[in-house]
Each structure stands twice: as C-alpha cells, then as structure tokens.
Amino acid sequence: MTSAWNRFWFRAEPRANFIAARIIVALTSLWLVLSRPQLPELLTWPDAFWLHANGWLRARFLIGGLPYAIELALYIVLMVALLLTALGRFTAASAFTAAILLYHFAAFEDIISSSSGPFFRGFTACISCLFVIAFSQHDDDDSRWPLALMRLLVAFTYLLSGISKLRLVGWRWATAANFEGIVAAMVLPDVRPPWSNWFLGHPLLCWLGALSGFAMDFLFISAVFSKRAARVVVPLTFIAHVVVVKVLGVVYLAAPLLLLFVNWQWVVDALRARRGAVATASGRDLAQ
C-alpha cells in the first residue's frame, strides 16, 4: 500500500509536464477572468442585489465591504498574478495570490442568487490547481505529486458528479427515458439546443447518451492512473463536452484543463526530433 502510494505520488515526472500544467491552469483562469471584466462592478449595483448575501455568506468568500475602487484594483492584481503564474515569474507568490483572489471574486456572480456556491463557472478546479501550483513551487525534486493532484482534482469533477447522480437519482439516471427527459427539460421557452431533436424520440441515441454520460463520470478517473486509459478517455470526454453543448446547451468552461492529461514531454521530444531530422536533411542537401 505504502509503495503504491509513493509510486503514484512521488515517482519522477518530466519537467515539461509541470511547466505545461502551470501555463494551462493560469491561462484557463485568465481566460475566464478576462471574460468577466466587470465582475467587481457588481458591488456598485443596487443594494437589493446583495440582499441574499448575508454577513456569513460574505465572510465565507472574504467579501468584507471594501470600496469598489479597491476591489477593482484587486481584480487587476488577480489578472497580473495569473499572467505572472503563466510566465513562471514569482510563481509561488503569484499563484497563491491568484488563488485567494479568484476564490474571492468567483463567488460574486452566484452568491447574489444562491447559497450553494459557484460550481459551474469553470473556476472550481482552476482555484484548487492554482493553490497546488503555489504549494509545490519550492520543490526542487521532480516528484509528480503536484501534477498528479491537479489531475485528480480535475477527475473529481466527473467522479463526484457521477456519485451525485447515483445518490440523488440512482441507477435509473442512466436510462434512455431519463436522458431523453433531461434533453427535453433543457429545451426552454427562449432556447432550444440545436441538436436536441436528434435525441428526442430516439431511444437508441438516448441510451447511448445516458450510458456515455455515466461512463464519462465514472471512467474518467482512470486517466489519472493510466496513461493508456488517458489516451482514450480524455479525447472522448472532450468530444462528449462538445456534444453536450449542442444537445443540452450546457458549456463546460473548465474543458481546457483536460490538457493537463497530455504528455507534453512527449510533444516536446517529438518536435525536437522532427526539428533535428529537418536540420540533418537540410545539412545533407547542402553537402550534396
């Protein structure tokens, strides 16, 4: 057990994969933040918008009545911190600052209307991963625990979603009738996902959708433990997210984090080998 634990968390990992993970997490977070440039402005909206966010809820997300100008300045600090993290400058401090500020700001949109938390804005795994990047920056060895932990946190997105389905609905979630019902329920008075008609009234496709959804939730975790599984599960999951946008009208904003499962060292080596082959060939041409 101990040796399996140590092998999983502490075996060596190529450096390129750590660097790529840092860049992927920081740029995904930055993309989401730049896509909500006016988030601090919510503090200037009519007071009624904040009626639901009582002192306890505000305290949880470190919303302490700072003036708008300071919150705006902190939001700019967040953007700069994410950029520095992506560039690998002052990484421990910048990733830690970004994680704390993202935890604070990511909640703005959701606590106005709900006390459950901002699950679905794409920030969830980003924040945890930014913390992991900060925590691991003083490691001078190449043990893989930071990357393995980030991958595990992304995989939990799927596994825990599957467990929620099992606990709240049970096995009948994965039936054609339920999947068709979900597709039908996502057809709203003002919005009709473009591919919903392909599934409505087509039980075989609905069975495929239901079983694929369940499989994605429960099999994705295998990508954390097996490179071979990752090569199959990760691309299929990406395709599933694209299909979900078209069929259910739901966008999984943290999808770029699937890139954490790519073996970037292999990509770097392949590019180097190709460049080397080109250089050798052109050298041979010159010699002739």
């Binding site: 730049l34 306890w56 949109e109 979603s161 019902g181 008075p189 009208g249």
Partner: protein, 216 residues
Amino acid sequence: MHLDADTLAKVRDVLQIVRLAIVAGFVVAGVRVMRAPAEKRRRRVNELLVYVLVAHAAIVIAQNDAWPFATYPMMAVDSTDQTAIHNGLSFRVVDDAGREWQVDPLAWSPLYPQSVMGWFEVVYPRATDSQRNDVLRFLLARAESARLHVNRGDRFYGNAALLGPLAAPDTNLYAPAPQSPRPLRALRMYRIWWTPAELSTTGTIRERRLISEYRR
C-alpha cells in the same frame, strides 16, 4: 430531527463558516508544505494529499459542498416524467412602439440572464417595492445600453468587452436576441409554465403570466 425555520437558517449560516474552515485547512496544509524544511517535506506533502482526499470524502458523504471542494450535482435529476409541469421566468423589454423583444444575453453583464433569474426567484419575493423598482430600473437601463451596442454592430461590450467573440460564454447557451431599433420603454417579467414533452415537441407553453412591469 425537525428544525424550525429560524434554527435552520442559523445552521445554514454557521455552515458557511465551516465551509470556509475546510478551505482554510487546505490552504494551511499547503502553506506547511511551502515552508517545510527538506527533511519534513515528504511528510507535509502526504498530510496535504490526505487532507484533500478526506475533504472530498466528507463532501461526498454529506452531499454538501465546501467550494472549491464541490459535489458537482450537474444534471443529477430524475427527468423521466416529461409531463411534469415546469415553470420559470422570462424577461422581455418593450420598445416605444409597444413591441416586445428578448433581452440581449450580455445586457446584464457580468451576470447572465440565468443568474438574474436566480435573484428574482430567491430574493425578489422578499424585496420591498422600492428595492424592486431600483432593480428593474437598473436592468432596463442596462438593456437599453446593450441594445445600442448590438445595433451598432459592437462585439466588444459587457462580458465580451475585452475578448469579444473569444470571451468564455455562460455555462448556459442563449439564443441570439435581435434588438429593437427603437428606444426601450419597459421591462416585463413573466412567469411561464410548460411541460418538457409539449415544449420540446410542439413548442407550446401552458401559461404565461405577467408578474411585474417597470415603465419609464
């Protein structure tokens, strides 16, 4: 155990701090790794890893989040009964010719319409008339501003102000909403009732009732 509404509200409030404490525990465990001397680093990392696993196990068992440790109950619903009556809110703006239009999805940036609907579902019923008017006036002004952007062909406004078409969308898809060429005069909020079976096949809704209207 049955708790009255006040006690339940207090329990919910205290739970917010418990959730913060769980996140704080994660941060403390991580900072201990950052500050660990070399000989203690492996042990501190192990403590952090165990903490993350235990925290996730706890939220799974409790089916209660401590965000960013989350249970992701996305689509975790029994939707087999397509004849069940659903209801939701729908907003319309009215131009000075009296014609209704959909609100531009970026009008209420940084919120998307789904979040604004959440506010109306949860908070609006207990807001005072004055607060309701403040909110509706504000939203109408924002809708008018978005109308001008759309009609100018502007692609860089609201949530798309910096990245334009490359900006991340909302989690929910929205249909394109053409805007009136005329100034807006009113914001209407309707409650709509439908069944998924009818709406998805014939596009019909059972009932649409005006809940609120703000005119300027």
